[in-house]
Amino acid sequence: MKRDPILTARGLVKRYGRVTALDNCDFDLYPGEILAVIGDNGAGKSSLIKAISGAVQADEGEIRLEGRPVSFRSPLEAQDAGISTVYQTLALSPALSIVDNMFVGRELRKPGPLGTWLRMLDKPAMRAFAREKLNDLGLMTIQDIDQAVETLSGGQRQGVAVARAAAFGSKVIIMDEPTAALGVKESRQVLNLILDLKAKGLPIILISHNMPHVFEVADRVHVHRLGKRLCTIDPKKHTMSDAVAYMTGAKQPDDVNEAA
């Protein structure tokens, strides 16, 4: 069965001064799958997802979402089109509360003139929604949802960032190294969350250095090397050491499109 990809990129180029972070890079994401993107540090994984999510603009190349060409000038435009991203840096505002962070850019206004004329926020509704989402995602039990994010631990912050990306009915979720800062147990919760999102039919792009995690949850693995896609492999047909050998250049893949 040949499905159509939901998100594709062709020939992306992104240069930072003399560094070419993306060098004619292709990318495909299919509906309902978990696609892992692996690669050495500096291979250009974050640059790829930043280009896809509107955080940076590619110098060349084309991105299509559901077959239509898109070019996002800002992360907001990508969000509006249904691409939610958990950045490696999380992109939370430390001094703002959990609720404020979850709703940044999508705040709910009070019904009636208070909302229309005074543009007043509907804080009770926002609190209820945020609490529900955090509980749904099974990430944490909330005591004080008005707590500033900077008073949370690394894992809790990650949870807030993931919940924000997952909460607003998007078409694609991108996570850049979501477990890098986490302990064993917190990593497990994030992985379970990813599997739950997949069970709801959402396609997910997962960037990770953790091979056991990648091989456990991914349907396909995009191996990124020197700013482009080297190959896509099926994790059931390859070992973790194969994957590491490809991404470090120790070994060349026989079939670059095995899992396409």
Partner: protein, 361 residues
């Protein structure tokens, strides 16, 4: 909890299977035991306005004891309000900029320039006073937007931008006024509306000027915008971490531009109030008010690093300065010690801010 273990085979690597039996409360928002100092630190972190409120209360009480009834009278307390009203309104504008991690050295220059423009139009050129004031409001907004444009589009640091525009606005003001004041009698004759905020309401010995009331209204309105609207949350987010705010989906440059424009408008409102407060329009007045507005903001507990503090803090900061000046004067202390005391207040306020910011989970 994502607890599918009863129905589905356990997920994960074999070494993780024992996790199912582990304590499940780790990711909860635990309350750890804190010492008394830690409790204070956390309390202040959640309520940054607490420090200036306490300082204001203590200083009123202290000067009440030292200077006695002279200080602690309705007359004197309302006089203090009146004396700080212009710096207070400028501090409100300054707070907006400082919340975005910027600084505005041009607030007082915008104010004086706009009072000169309104005065010239209404007193010398026969323009109806309401129209003259509208021109001044538009001019103040435009001056603020010019700062904002230089900061967001030309990407100049706010300090340098407003250092430059301070001189530019000041020079324009000297040019337009010919370095001459507009006399009080001339304003009374041609455009008494310009002195509207000099009117007072007398309740017993208290003399509340319209200007004092305006100051409080300006602060409450800005407090509402900052705390009850999405725009306000975005201002804090941008000041906190601009890059994160951009990635989270805020149009940061647009937010910054609106902040500078609004601050300019508030400066123009201060211009109107200043005509009532001073009586005349003097191009040389308020030359140091830029720095005084920053003093009020800092003493009010708003962080110079942006994103932290309540705008109401700046109101209390302005009042604290007024209370110190009035109290020390009534206690017959030399003016130089007033300046000395304010200097220490600034340093202590910033030190407390640094300490509060170190709060951790």
């Amino acid at each position: 909890m994502t607890d599918m273990t009863q129905t589905a085979p356990p997920r994960g690597q074999s070494f993780e299977h024992d996790l199912e039996k582990s304590d499940r409360t780790v990711a909860a928002f635990e309350r750890t035991k804190r010492g008394p100092l830690g409790t204070i630190q956390h309390g202040l972190h959640g309520n940054p306005t607490l420090v200036p409120v306490i300082v204001l209360g203590l200083s009123i009480a202290a000067f009440g004891l030292i200077a006695g009834g002279k200080f602690f009278s309705a007359f004197n307390l309302t006089l203090i309000m009146q004396q700080v009203s212009i710096i207070g309104i400028l501090a409100a504008a300054q707070s907006l900029i400082i919340l975005t991690a910027g600084i505005d050295l041009s607030v007082a220059a915008i104010m004086v320039l706009m009072s000169v423009i309104a005065g010239n139009l209404a007193v010398y050129m026969g323009v109806p006073a309401p129209v003259a004031l509208l021109v001044a409001f538009a001019g103040g907004t435009g001056a603020g937007l010019m700062n904002g444009f230089l900061v967001t589009k030309v990407k100049l640091p706010p300090f340098i931008t407003t250092l430059g525009t301070w001189s530019i606005f000041y020079a324009l003001n000297l040019w337009l006024s010919g370095a001459q004041s507009i006399r009080s009698q001339d304003i009374d004759k041609a455009a008494p509306l310009l002195k509207f905020f000099g009117n007072t309401i007398a309740i017993g010995n208290a003399r509340v000027t319209y200007g004092s009331i305006l100051m409080i209204v300006v602060f409450l309105a800005l407090w509402f915008l900052l705390n009850k609207t999405a725009w306000g949350r975005h201002v804090y987010a941008v000041g906190d971490d601009k890059e994160a705010a951009e990635l989270a989906g805020i149009r940061t440059d647009r937010t910054l531009l609106s902040v500078y424009g609004l601050a300019g408008l508030v400066c123009a409102i201060a211009a109107w109030a200043s005509i009532g407060r001073v009586g005349s329009i003097s191009p040389q007045a308020y030359y140091e008010a830029n720095l005084h507005s920053i003093t009020a903001v800092v003493i009010g507990g708003i962080s110079l690093f942006g994103g932290r503090g309540s705008i109401l803090g700046a109101l209390f900061g302005a009042l604290i300065v007024g209370v110190f000046q009035s109290g020390l004067r009534l206690a017959d202390v030399d003016v130089l010690w007033q300046v000395f005391a304010i200097g220490w207040l600034i340093i202590i306020a910033v030190a407390i801010d640094q300490w509060i910011r170190k709060v951790s989970a």
